[in-house]
């Protein structure tokens, strides 16, 4: 291992372990610092902040090696690297060796320590560092740092000896009193950061699973932070258990991989005898057409387990023993692992836990349930991308598509500010999945990063609003907060624009050239937009290219497009509802105040990143370029299949880019416009519509005359669909879930009955019957001597007869 690899590993390990250290210190000692002390928060901030510094340093060092994609030192170097990116032909030779770029190593892997070894099977804690890892590290630590700081302000109410929980009533009807738990909150946050970073740095899928569970339990702890609230603890349980349902699939995937491949490692491993053991990604390789090497009957995929002279992995010759895996098993394994992602990322049909998870404090929602943990499913799907066959990708795409649409429609009717954001998160995660599923590896992960910034920003803003409104979360009671909380409102607007994907096309970027690192873009035309536009655009472009290749699956483009419009609609609805218009609750309004700097400063930082992190988009943007570095080899060429689903090549995506981008932009504008008309301008009274939609009254003519039109054309169908979706969610999926739970409980009750009735019963019956037999034998002993003597005579005769009857002949 070269020095850069070691450096990166060390830096990231520090960043990874520091929060753990923070957690341990807090859990052991924080209660001694007193309930009013903020020391725990400072410690946590220090840990995660240092982690950010380490991550950023690591990223910088890596960038130097990889070719200065982001941090330019000299111009020539930059052009040299940036130019070939567009030239797909030139890359063919390079991409044959995925781990190398420009002849330099950009993927680093290694082992921390070994967990166990069974013959040639071994399990260890590894690291796998590529640009995706680094990007995730920087993103997570950065956002986490911001949220930690924000939480210092947000959670300051807990800095008391006697905290009054207004949502819980004690026996006597009063509010529930308990000691504040400020430090507890931060210790959980630290633990979460540790787990999340561990998940990202993991070098094998098993390790991913380990931290997968750990983030799950952190999520459990944080959702259930207000343990006294029944709703909170139930939501926490629900979150964990629903996740476990996904993990069930994950484990099945793991079992298949483990049994068929004999390793969990992503990267190749150097074994003690000097040889190299192929990792998962090396074993499943495709040729230039995206085809797997298959066995004679075509049902088995032959694994590339032998190295040629150049270190490339290839199929062993017929004569030597080959490792194969049935293609169907490969599908099942992919689906299994994706099952885990479905649970973690709250995808259809396991999305129900995430809205409930909003029971946790708002910083938790921002960190865990929007930016990082829920995105882990997407991250894993991206990380595990080489193992997904097209059929699995199709499933991923459809799941993502359905999720995106369903969640978006529900978000239209939600009135709880956090619920809206939660549904929005689900919807956006669906986008990411869709992006991955239709072959846009880069697009999906690109959206993951951008979404993390703007969604955490919006959650924090909502947190700021909630804190300002004294824990009022219902939007109908807000309104007109813009003036009272300008910073919050404006930063929120940045997020809203970003997520809606609004942009002003055609602005030349000369303007930006004063920013040193951005001068790379100075020669190119550029749309002025915030991050969300670029990433969503990339996904839709890929989806369009995909549907061109697979016309059967045209919905995979249309629905996301529609959803883009809906997204824009409901996000602006939220903003208008909350910040514009007249205060709907005067009493509340009077007490509203802008949050302190400790809360607004993170908002500003995040809004900066939400706005500009994707600068340059997927053509020239440094973020996309960085991610692109880790793209699996086969993605570039797409996959043409006659009897299966095809995947678009980069070129095909590039070709669809313009049209998809325009369509998306149009959808976003329409959505925003509608939203503005209804909620911002008040052209239509939303309450009125709602009443109608709920079907209580007959159709009402609207005085503006547009009402009917809007209503019939947009609002009502949307609301109906939304209601329907909500109902489906509530009455179908929740119901299915509850039915399963009920069935489980019923089965367990039956099981208990069976246990106590049948098995115990059999035992007791045996016991009782022998016992009663014994008791009845007492009757033989009559106590009458004459009978006894009779027995002698009878017995002798009987025995004599028996002896002869049964005498062994011969």
């Amino acid at each position: 291992m070269d020095s850069l690899g070691n450096t990166l590993a060390n830096l990231l390990t520090i960043a990874w372990l520091l929060p753990l250290f923070g957690f341990v210190v807090q859990i052991l000692f924080a209660h001694k610092w007193g309930r009013k002390s903020k020391a725990a928060a400072y410690l946590a901030i220090f840990c995660i902040g240092t982690g950010f510094v380490c991550s950023a340093t690591a990223f910088y060092k890596w960038d130097k090696q990889a070719g200065h994609l982001v941090f330019k030192e000299a111009k020539p170097a930059a052009t040299e690297v940036a130019e070939p990116k567009n030239d797909s032909k030139a890359e063919v030779t390079e991409e044959a060796h995925p781990k190398k770029h420009s002849g330099r190593q950009t993927v680093f892997s290694g082992t921390f320590y070994q967990l166990a070894q069974f013959g040639d099977l071994q399990l260890s804690l590894d690291y796998y560092i590529d640009s995706l890892t680094l990007a995730m590290f920087v993103m997570v630590t950065l956002i986490a740092t911001c949220i930690h700081i924000f939480a210092t302000g947000y959670m300051s109410e807990e800095l008391v000896e006697d905290y009054v929980d207004h949502q819980v009533h004690s026996h006597d009807g009063g509010h529930f009193h308990r000691p504040g738990r400020f430090y507890r909150f931060f210790s959980y946050l630290s633990l979460f950061c540790f787990a999340m970073l561990g998940l990202v740095i993991a070098g094998n899928i098993f390790q991913v699973f380990v931290f997968w569970e750990l983030v799950g339990i952190c999520s459990y702890l944080l959702i259930g932070f207000y343990v006294e609230r029944h709703s909170a603890s139930t939501a926490a349980n629900k979150a964990f258990i629903v996740n476990r349902v996904g993990d069930f699939g994950f484990i099945i995937g793991l079992m298949i991989l483990w049994t068929s491949f004999g390793t969990f490692n992503f990267a190749d491993q150097h074994v003690s005898d000097g040889g190299v053991k192929p990792g998962l990604f090396s074993m499943v390789t495709r040729d230039h057409h995206g085809e797997f090497p298959k066995s004679a009957d075509g049902k088995e995929v032959v694994l590339t387990t032998q190295q040629d002279g150049h270190g490339a992995w290839q199929v062993p010759p017929e004569t030597s023993p080959r490792k194969t895996i049935a293609y169907t098993l490969l599908i099942v394994a992919g689906l299994g692992v994706f099952g885990g992602c479905v649970g973690k990322s709250a995808q259809f049909p396991l999305q129900t836990w995430l809205p409930d998870a909003m029971e946790g404090p708002t910083p938790v929602s921002a960190l865990v349930h929007s930016a990082t943990m829920v995105a882990a499913g997407v991250y894993l799907a991206g990380r595990f991308y080489p193992m997904f066959v097209p059929e699995v990708l199709l499933v991923i795409a459809y799941v993502g598509c359905i999720t995106a649409f369903v969640a978006a429609t529900i978000a239209i009717v939600a009135t709880d500010i956090k619920k809206v954001l939660a549904y929005s998160t689900i919807s956006q995660l669906g986008y990411m999945m869709l992006g991955l599923g239709v072959g846009g590896w880069g697009a999906g992960l690109f959206h993951l990063i951008t979404h993390a910034f703007f969604k955490s920003l919006m959650f924090l803003c909502s947190g700021s609003v909630i804190a300002g409104c004294h824990h009022e979360q219902e939007m109908p009671k807000m309104g007109g907060l813009l003036r009272k909380m300008p910073i919050t409102a404006l930063t929120m607007l940045v997020g809203v624009i970003a997520i809606a994907g609004l942009a002003i096309p055609g602005i030349y970027l000369k303007f930006w050239s004063f920013v040193p690192y951005l001068s790379v873009y100075e020669d190119h035309g550029y749309v002025l937009s915030f991050s969300g536009y670029h990433s969503k655009d990339a996904i839709l472009a890929t989806a369009l290219a995909y549907t061109k290749l697979n016309p059967l699956h045209f919905l995979l483009f249309l629905i996301p497009l529609l959803t883009a419009g809906i997204t824009s609609f409901y996000m602006f609805r939220l903003w208008f509802y909350t910040f514009l218009g007249k205060p709907r609750d005067q009493h509340l309004h009077e007490h509203v105040h802008e949050s302190p700097w400790v809360m607004t400063a993170p908002l500003l930082v995040l809004s900066f990143f939400a706005a500009f992190c994707a600068l340059g988009g997927e053509h020239h943007g440094s973020l996309f370029g960085v991610l692109h570095h880790s793209e699996p080899v086969h993605v570039h060429h797409g996959f043409e299949a006659a009897n299966s689903v095809s995947l678009p090549s980069h070129q095909a995506i590039e070709d669809s880019h313009a049209s998809a981008g325009q369509a998306a932009l149009l959808a976003a504008f329409v959505g925003m416009a509608l939203s503005y008309l209804i909620y911002g301008k008040g052209v239509v009274n939303p309450d009125e519509i709602q009443r109608q939609a709920s079907g209580v009254h007959a159709f009402l003519a609207n005085k503006w005359g547009f009402d009917d039109l809007y209503d019939v054309m947009f609002v009502k169908p949307a609301h109906v669909v939304a209601k329907f979706a909500a109902a489906i969610d509530k009455f179908v999926f929740d119901e299915i879930l509850h039915t399963f739970v009920r069935m489980g409980i019923a089965v367990s009750k039956w099981d208990r009955k069976f246990d106590e009735g049948v098995i115990d019963g059999i035992v007791n019956l045996m016991g009782n019957s022998t016992h009663s037999l014994g008791i009845s034998l007492r009757n033989v002993q009559t106590g009458k001597i004459r009978q006894y003597v009779t027995f002698i005579a009878v017995s002798v005769v009987t025995l004599f007869v028996l002896l002869f009857a049964l005498y062994p002949k011969g």
């Binding site: 007492r778 106590g783 004459r786």
Partner: protein, 103 residues
């Protein structure tokens, strides 16, 4: 000594034996039961005597019967004593009245 046919003697012995057993099982009077015992023993005794005459058993058979007589006497003595004791406690020698111990 002229050979004799042992069968009649044996049959008588067997009859005695069966009578004894039947007596033991039917008599409620304790003394009667003991008499049954004597019958059984004497059935056997008759056998011994017969065999001593008809088989190589010879004198052994007679010795057998002598011992049996002695032992029967001893047993009878003890049995009678016990019967007496039973009477003392129960004021009857109906063996069926002794049914406190059972089960």
């Amino acid at each position: 000594m002229q050979p004799i046919d042992p069968n009649p003697f044996l049959i008588v012995g067997a009859v005695l034996f069966v009578c004894g057993v039947v007596c033991m099982t039917t008599k409620r009077n304790g003394i009667g039961v003991l008499m049954g015992v004597e019958l059984v023993l004497n059935g056997a005794n008759l056998n011994f005597i017969t065999f001593s005459r008809c088989t190589p058993l010879g004198l052994d058979g007679q010795v057998f019967s002598l011992f049996v007589i002695v032992l029967a006497a001893a047993e009878a003595a003890v049995a009678l004593a016990i019967a007496l004791n039973f009477y003392n406690n129960h004021l009857t020698i109906d063996v069926d009245r002794g049914d406190e111990l059972h089960g």
